[in-house]
Assembly symmetry: C2
Homo-oligomer: 132 residues x 2
C-alpha cells in the first residue's frame, strides 16, 4: 500500500481510513483512543513531534499526532461504533499498512475501508514556484 515509485510525482501521501463495527467502549475515553493512535504511529515507524487529544461531551474523542512526516488524526463516534482516521505522510519510509492492521486489531473492528490519495502534484508545484 505504500507508494513504491522511486521517482516521486507527488509531494505527500494521504490515507483516509474508515473503521466500522467497533465496540462503543473502545471509542469513548480519551486515554484509550490516545493509546490506540500512538500505537499506530509506532506501528508505522513514524516519528512523533507532538500530540493533542480532546474528549467531547457527551460523545467522542478527537486526536491529532503531528509527526516529522506530517500527521495522524482520529475522530471517534462511539454512538455509531465508527472511527475516521487519517494518515498524511511525506516520504515513503512510513508503513501505513502496518498502522491500519494495528488499529483493526486493537479496535477489534468488523470492517476497515482505506482510500489512498496523492497530495500535491510535484511537477505542477515546480511550474508555479516563486522565490521570495
Amino acid at each position: 500500500m505504500n507508494p513504491s515509485s522511486k521517482t516521486p510525482t507527488s509531494i505527500g501521501h494521504h490515507w483516509l481510513i474508515e473503521i466500522y463495527g467497533i465496540q462503543t467502549s473502545h471509542l469513548e475515553k480519551k486515554a484509550d483512543v490516545q493509546k490506540a493512535l500512538n500505537g499506530a504511529v509506532k506501528a508505522a515507524k513514524a516519528t512523533k513531534v507532538s500530540e493533542n487529544f480532546h474528549q467531547f461531551d457527551p460523545f467522542g474523542v478527537s486526536g491529532v499526532i503531528v509527526i516529522e512526516e506530517s500527521h495522524f488524526t482520529i475522530h471517534t463516534w462511539p454512538e455509531y461504533g465508527y472511527a475516521a482516521i487519517d494518515f498524511f505522510t511525506c516520504g515513503v519510509s512510513i508503513d501505513c499498512q502496518k498502522a491500519v492492521d494495528y488499529l483493526k486489531e486493537v479496535f477489534q473492528a468488523k470492517e476497515v475501508e482505506v482510500q489512498y490519495f496523492k497530495r500535491g502534484n510535484l511537477a505542477k508545484a515546480k511550474s508555479y514556484f516563486i522565490e521570495k
Copy 2:
C-alpha cells in the same frame, strides 16, 4: 460546496485542498502559517478547541487546529510554493468554501484544487453498531 442534503448519509465531511504558486515567504514561518489557518477557521465559522504548530528545520510548517466539528490541518513546502490543507467537519454549519477563499487570498495563490469526500457511511455504521 457544503453538503446540502437535509438527510445525512455520511458522518463526516472532508475537503482535501492543494494550494500552488504561493510565495515562499508566506510558508516559511510558523507564526504566519498559524495566523493563516486560524483565519480559515474563523472564516468557516468553526469553533477552535486547541492548536498545535511545528516549525521544521530547514523547511516548512505543520499545523493542526482541533475544532468542535473535527479538524483543520496544514503542511507547507516553501521550497515548492505549495501547501496541503485539510478541513474535516461534521455537521453542515461550517462554511468551508469561505475558508478556501480566505486562504487563496491570504497566500496570494496561483491555483487551488479542492476535492470533497464523504467520511463514514451512516447506514453501514448503524448496521454494525455494537453496544458496550
